[in-house]
């Protein structure tokens, strides 16, 4: 009974220690990860839903394909990978640790047989110090031991690089821990702030509000454009408020893409912007093309105003900077629809900075745009992630571990000296060809020592 139980735990242990499991999990993760790059994740666009059948939708949903990277089965794969690499490390680390901390100091017959690089030469015991110096210069400080009147010198280089693999394994776990800390104690949210106003609540993707213990005031949002009309800079001027008062050092801070603002562990990232539609007033000016006499008037979006003489005007669209649509112009512009009495409507664009365009238009009236006291809002991503430094620590460990494991080699050499003869032997755990060249060089030097 007990033996049967033992074999079960043993075989389970062997299963989790196996490299085959690691390879299967890595390939399994690679293949399943493709699903989430093909099927939309999170908020599914309605256009996509129309392209798949009801049955397919239900199947995908039951398999959590619409949020697959957080699904139970994907998490299971990640947890299995973690268990696998912990088990592998537990199984192999003690052996490697022993090799690093308790190296074989004596070149006995069985060790010598296991090494392919050996060289025999004549040497007397009086040359011990010379050989010591030689090993020190070539590999590292040698350790001397004596057995049955025979001297053994052992020197090694980079023994710690054998731990590189385990450093990488550890780093994966550290990164996972960092990610878990972030998901339990942090959040991702967003908030829109209209120019001139402040907020103290942000919203997560599920629209649940999170109250901040401070306020964020947006003084101004602006967009700069290149001559080509492509956006150059999105900028919010933000001030942090504590109890309604600006905080010193956090007043009028420009926040642009790639340059966020962090306060009390919460970071605000420039993400989007828009026109705050409610209540904006647009200023226009109308004059007779012949005879002059201009009149100012205001209009709201979607509103139709009647001008003197019976003409009516409607504001269709407006922009703070027309350059993004018409690179040859700049500044605010408005698209209006003008209906002269008894005529069909005509729509055209008027530019605040380019009144001459309107001067050249044909028609009885000259409509000029004088801009708007329209307000913009800035859209900010808000993130709190106390785990992020753990993740960076893990990433650093991973890079160091990979460097140790890939580019450093544990080199071990022995010299046995006794009975008028000496034997040099050596081995390296990586890049045997390079070590072979090194060994040959050492042999050449020994000949002329």
């Amino acid at each position: 009974m007990s033996t049967k139980k033992r074999t079960l735990t043993e075989s389970l242990w062997d299963f989790f220690c196996s490299l085959k499991l690691s390879i299967s999990l890595l390939i399994g993760l690679a293949v399943t990860s493709i699903i989430g790059t093909v099927i939309p994740q999170g908020n599914i666009p309605p256009e996509y839903l129309q392209t798949i059948s009801e049955a397919k939708f239900r199947l995908y949903q039951s398999l959590s394909f619409f949020d697959m990277y957080h699904s139970w089965w994907f998490m299971l794969l990640l947890y299995l990978l973690t268990v696998n690499l912990v088990a592998c490390s537990i199984k192999r680390l003690p052996h490697v640790w022993k090799m690093v901390t308790e190296p074989a100091l004596v070149l006995d017959e069985s060790l010598e047989k296991s090494l392919s690089l050996t060289y025999d030469f004549k040497a007397s015991s009086s040359e011990l110090d010379k050989l010591k110096g030689f090993l020190k210069a070539e590999i590292g400080e040698p350790v001397l031991s004596e057995r049955d009147g025979v001297f053994h010198l052992f020197a090694q280089k980079n023994p710690w690089c054998r731990l590189g693999v385990y450093v990488v394994h550890l780093s994966v776990i550290v990164i996972f821990i960092g990610a878990l800390i972030g998901s339990f104690f942090g959040y991702k949210a967003f908030v829109n702030i209209v120019e001139g106003t402040y907020i103290d609540t942000v919203f997560t993707a599920k629209d649940s509000p999170i109250k901040l213990d401070f306020g964020v005031h947006c003084e101004k949002f602006s967009v700069e454009y290149y001559k080509t009309g492509a956006p150059k800079e999105f900028k919010s001027i933000l001030t942090i408020l504590e109890n309604g008062q600006p905080v010193k050092g956090f007043t009028r801070i420009p926040v642009i893409v790639n340059d966020p603002l962090t306060y009390k562990g919460i970071t605000f990232y420039q993400s989007s912007y828009g026109q705050s539609g409610d209540g904006a007033v647009y200023h226009f000016n109308v004059a007779l093309r012949i005879g002059g006499g201009s009149t100012n008037f205001n209009i709201k979006k979607g509103e139709r105003v009647t001008l003197s003489g019976g003409a009516t005007l409607e504001l269709l669209e407006s922009t703070q900077d027309v350059r993004q649509y018409m690179p040859e112009f700049s500044g605010p512009a408005a698209k209006v629809s003008l209906v002269m009495p008894g005529k069909s409507p005509e729509s055209f664009i008027v530019f605040k900075n380019h009144p001459e365009i309107e001067e050249q238009r044909r028609g009885e009236l000259v409509i000029q745009y004088a801009g708007a006291d329209e307000k913009l809002y800035t859209g900010l991503q808000v993130a709190k992630d106390p785990g992020v430094w753990v993740v960076w620590f893990g990433c650093t460990l991973m890079v160091i571990g990979i460097g140790m494991a890939f580019f450093m080699s544990h080199q071990r050499t022995w010299i046995r000296l006794g009975n008028g003869r000496a034997t040099l032997a050596g081995t390296a755990n990586k890049n045997p060809a390079a070590f072979e060249r090194k060994f040959e060089e050492m042999v050449e030097k020994l000949k002329t020592l």
Binding site: I23, Q41, Y226, N258, T267, S271
Partner: protein, 284 residues
């Protein structure tokens, strides 16, 4: 002299190099091989100048950014990194013939860039205005290039292994006899991936750091991120497979080719077929 002229010269030199490599393979004339290598390296030198000149041109136009900002610039840079990695491997291990399989990748890239892609110098959109752009793109593409070289070596491995399998009695004749021994090819495949994997890891880490700095999320399962992780998984599987018995040779070669196919999809396929945060990379 303009950078686009120099890029054309580069493309031409890579073409000459490819032709010379094929001639070298067919004739076994070592001076043709030397010419092929020289054409590739001179082409690389000209391309280096072209990239620097394009960088300067962007400053002259008032944009002032490293030429790594759109698909054209990245394809051109990819070709440059492929020749760089190939050059390192050739100088270190002295197996010139590998160039016959590597150069077509670089030539294909340059030809596609010069003939099919918009080569205009555009100003940087706000999302790309960061020093991380440089670190992220350079590490990623050096990694991709090492995988390209590994893939070329794996193709050679499979050709050589097949021809030796067919006539196991006689030595493989003709062109294939010029290939390094399959044991050497297997080892070079491994060595190339040993170069590529740390660079890809750095590329993913710098990308995550940048994403965190710009958007507040170091990982958002965006298709580009996910595909880079898929590539990382494939090569991680490759590296682990090396330790177990039975996964050297043909299987390793296939895994390397699959890894490079995933790399190319990550680089180009994601931009062409999937939407996401790296959409500017697909601009035509």
């Amino acid at each position: 002299m303009s950078s686009s002229l120099l890029f054309n010269v580069t493309t031409f030199l890579f073409l000459i190099s490819t032709i010379l490599f094929f001639a070298y393979m067919a004739s076994k004339n070592s001076s043709l091989g030397l010419g092929a290598s020289l054409a590739a390296f001179i082409g690389w030198g000209v391309e280096t100048l072209a990239i620097i000149l394009r960088w300067k041109e962007s400053y002259d136009m008032g944009h002032g950014h490293a030429p790594l900002s759109n698909l054209y610039e990245s394809v051109v840079f990819f070709a440059w990194t492929i020749i760089l990695i190939y050059g390192i491997i050739e100088l270190k291990y002295k197996h010139r013939i590998i160039g016959a399989f590597v150069l077509p990748f670089a030539l294909l890239g340059m030809a596609w860039a010069q003939l099919g892609l918009n080569s205009g110098i555009e100003p940087l959109v706000p999302a790309l205005q960061s020093n991380w752009l440089l670190y992220h793109v350079i590490t990623c593409f050096l990694g991709y290039a090492a995988f390209a070289v590994a893939c070329a070596i794996s193709i050679m491995y499979l050709i050589k292994a097949r021809s030796e399998g067919e006539n196991s009695t006689s030595q493989a004749g003709g062109m294939i006899s010029m290939f390094p021994a399959i044991r050497v090819l297997d080892d070079l495949n491994y060595k190339s991936i040993m170069i590529g994997f740390p660079l890809l890891t750095l590329g993913i880490v710098t990308g995550a750091a940048w994403a965190n700095y710009a958007w507040g999320t170091y990982w958002s399962w965006d298709p580009k991120e996910t595909w880079s992780l898929i590539v990382w998984f494939v090569y991680a599987a490759f590296l682990h497979a090396r330790i177990t018995r039975g996964w050297v040779g043909k299987r390793a070669a296939w895994l390397s080719i699959i890894g490079f196919a995933a790399t190319i999809f990550c680089y180009i396929g994601v931009n062409l077929f999937l939407s996401g945060l790296h959409s500017y990379g697909g601009g035509r």
